[in-house]
């Protein structure tokens, strides 16, 4: 009876598995969310297929994005956040993701192959021209 009860609890290897997974999660977290950057310098990076465009996060506007396979997305930028308000794909996961504002966050639409990422925009390695 006691042995069967004991079998219901985790054993050493289980804790090792948990620890390894938590460690990997922590490593990737520290890689992608390093620090809170200067808010005034943030830009929206929109990748559609192989095309990449940058927009200022601090000027409110609507942006239309043409994705692959004829899918289109409409983005709304307002008060330092960006969200997808309309998408012609079937699952609308990008719309459900909601608004993002933090550096490193992204909205991904798989059917249209569109990735919307917020970047620091401190011009570390690329020249960014904002339209």
């Amino acid at each position: 009876m006691t042995t069967r009860k004991k079998q219901m609890f985790p054993i050493v290897g289980d804790y090792v598995v948990y620890a390894v997974i938590l460690l990997i999660a922590a490593i990737f977290f520290s890689l992608f969310f390093p620090k809170a950057g200067d808010k005034s310098l943030r830009v929206i990076r929109i990748q559609s297929g192989e095309d990449v465009e940058y927009y200022d996060l601090n000027s409110d506007r609507e942006i239309s994005v043409d994705g692959e396979d004829g899918f289109t997305l409409t983005l709304s930028v307002s008060s330092g956040t960006v969200r997808v308000v309309q998408a012609s794909c079937r699952d609308h996961l990008c719309v459900k993701t909601g608004a993002i504002s933090e550096e490193g966050r992204s909205i991904i639409c798989l059917p249209a192959r569109v990735i919307i990422t917020i970047e620091g925009g401190d011009g570390s390695d690329e020249d960014v021209f904002l339209p």
Binding site: R4, Q7, M8, P10, I11, V12, G13, D14, Y15, V16, V17, Y18, I21, L22, I24, A25, A26, F28, F29, L31, F32, F33, Q47, G49, E50, V52, D91, L93, K96, T97, G98, G104, R105, S106, I108, L110, P111, R113, I115, T117
Partner: protein, 186 residues
């Protein structure tokens, strides 16, 4: 009934595999019907893992790999879309590798709870790798997708624990009723 000759009976093996495959596909179907109401794409409980790990312990590892492959392909054809097939295949490939590795190398020191969590995590990692490949643009891989890894790994800790506890209950019941298991993972 529990003699070794009946375990090797091909008809019996086919029937057992068929039952487990149907079980895995029903789990896949139910999870597609009732997704978890979270604004996070790609997270599900992974109950199909129960059938795969049960198959590994009851029938054997090669049968479990076959079951995993068939489940993914058949579920994609019947209930899903073919664009999801690539993701599922990639996830199933990595979770199968983890299953083999843990069962063959660490049996006795890791229980079905740890195996379930590790399979869930590696399934998610496989899907992320697939996504970063499909969304690669001009480079060979897209690293911005990797920022989703911490979320998926934490989710797999929770979902893997849930399926792991269910598997523990199932294995305890099987051992109590005297079923012969190739690998006891309690």
């Amino acid at each position: 009934m529990r003699t070794s000759s009946s375990r090797k009976d091909p008809a019996r093996r086919v029937a057992e595999l068929g039952i487990l495959l149907v079980l895995a596909m029903v789990f896949s179907y139910l999870e597609a019907l009732f997704p978890i109401p979270l604004p996070l794409p790609g997270i599900k409980l992974g109950f199909a893992n129960i059938a795969v790990i049960l198959c590994a312990c009851y029938c054997g590892l090669p049968e479990a790999l076959l079951l995993n492959l068939l489940r993914v392909v058949l579920s994609a054809i019947l209930f899903g879309n073919l664009s999801g097939l690539l993701f599922s295949l990639s996830g199933a490939f990595f979770s199968s590798l983890t299953l083999i590795f843990l069962v063959l190398s660490f049996r006795g020191s890791v229980s079905v709870l740890g195996i379930s969590v590790a399979c869930a995590a590696s399934h998610n990692l496989g899907q992320i790798l697939c996504a970063s490949f499909l969304l690669r643009g001009s480079s060979w891989i897209n690293p911005s997708v990797f920022s989703y890894i911490p979320v998926l790994l934490l989710a797999s800790l929770i979902t893997g624990t849930i399926t792991g506890i269910l598997l523990k209950l199932l294995f305890a019941y099987l051992e109590k009723t005297g079923k012969e298991l190739r690998y006891s993972l309690l």
